[in-house]
């Protein structure tokens, strides 16, 4: 594999600098946020490189678990931040995090034990990138689905209550909204699978090919990952929507939208 020197990276960075200068010259006002984002990206990735280097060197279950928990908590925070109207209190954070835990973690551990099956099963070179991809994808799916559920329930509260008045159960009254939310949570991965290889070369496969892996091996890994992501997203979204739609009602089948926070300005 060809390693990149600092000079190579500086050359590429020069392109971004030129773009920033162009933005300043054309008064687009983008240069500031562009440079900050670039700087953040370099610092964050360098740091994670150092962390991964350390963890790969130790290869201990404790360190891998710690890293996994940090990743999970960060993803949970991200899911919460993307909600316009989130559940108040611990639910807002715990719901998405819990759903990702049971889907991403379970599917990743299953894959490590059975399909990849190396020794030890938690070897960080496999475990951490795999979990990262699972979390990244289930995160978007769960965030989109929850946002759709709470927003639609808020907009259609009169309809939900009308259905309750006519004697429908809470499950019947929110069924269509939940199905719609499920669809929007799954759309991303379904589109990604449909477009894979034709419109886009998936990132992981590209990376493996760049690193010198035979294309068919890279493809097999990518297919495995797609299966895992689809299953993980589906289970995670289902769990999150089930819990959240339960939370919107009480045991007397009353719509309790006061469990949602007001949208941010």
């Amino acid at each position: 594999m060809i390693t990149l020197s600092v000079f190579d990276l500086s050359l590429a960075a020069l392109l971004v600098l030129i773009l920033a200068a162009l933005s300043w010259h054309m008064r687009l006002g983008l240069e500031r946020s562009l440079l900050i984002a670039t700087l953040r990206m370099v610092v964050q990735l360098s740091l994670i490189g150092l962390v991964l280097k350390t963890i790969f060197a130790t290869s201990g279950l404790l360190w891998v678990s710690l890293m996994a928990v940090v990743m999970l908590l960060a993803a949970g925070r991200e899911v919460m931040a993307r909600q316009q109207r989130r559940l108040k209190g611990w639910w807002g954070y715990g719901l998405g995090t819990g759903a990702m835990f049971i889907s991403s973690f379970a599917v990743t551990v299953l894959a490590l034990f059975t399909m990849i099956g190396n020794q030890p099963w938690y070897e960080p070179q496999y475990a951490i990138p795999l979990l990262g991809m699972m979390l990244g994808n289930t995160m978007s799916g769960i965030a989109l689905a929850l946002d759709r559920l709470t927003q639609t329930a808020w907009q259609q509260r009169a309809i939900i209550e009308q259905r309750l008045m006519l004697g429908q159960t809470r499950t019947e009254a929110i069924d269509e909204i939940r199905r719609e939310a499920m669809r929007s949570g799954m759309m991303h991965i379904i589109n990604a699978m449909a477009a894979a290889g034709i419109v886009s070369l998936p990132g992981m496969m590209t990376g493996q090919i760049l690193a010198g892996a035979p294309p068919m091996e890279a493809v097999k890994y990518q297919i495995l990952i797609m299966f895992l992501i689809a299953a993980g997203t589906g289970f995670g979204v289902t769990a999150a929507l089930w819990l959240a739609s339960r939370r919107l009602f009480d045991e007397r089948h009353r719509l309790r939208l006061e469990v949602l926070s007001a949208p941010r300005a």
Binding site: Q156, A158, I159, E161, Q162, R163, L164, M165, L166, G167, Q168, T169, E176, D250, R252, H253, R254, L255
Partner: protein, 209 residues
Amino acid sequence: MVALERPPVSDPLLRVSRLITHQRGPFDLSIDAGECVSLRGPSGSGKSLLLRAIADLDPHQGEVWLDGVACAQIPAPQWRRQVALLPVESQWWLDEVSAHLSGKDCPWLIPLGFGEAALGWQVSRLSSGEKQRLALARALMNRPRVLLLDEPSASLDEVSAAALEAVVSDYRHDTGAAVLWVSHSAAQAARVATRHYQLTPQGVQEGEP
């Protein structure tokens, strides 16, 4: 000595006892089977909130009994099928009218002034008055034992309002249902109801229409 036999005291069909909802109340009222009672009060006095609480749509304190059975003892969806609330503004979520009327034939369409064709109408093209009358037909499809009507003829002309009053009256006589009728008009209250409640900050008081 011969014990005097007490006349059998029948429970009211609907009894509301010490009901507190949204910091209003306590409210007490009762309606016998086959009886229609009006409820009036200034806007904002909580008439709609009281009806919502009776239908168990809002959290509340106190208890509501239907024929001697407490609301809390019945699953909520079953309660709401028996204690039907007709809100001021009805909601329709499917494309066609018929999709909202569970069951095959709706015997109230013609008395309410509709033909059979109304079942195929698009909900998006209904006028507010049509919605109001069709909402009553839809609510009656559950064969409720109590009707909570929140200004059911607010957007109806005189002819349609008379038709609606007749349908409610017939249903009440046929099934022995109890009706609580919120109305802004004293004339309508006097016409449809035999007893009259007034909603005040002190609670529900019986009085003139």
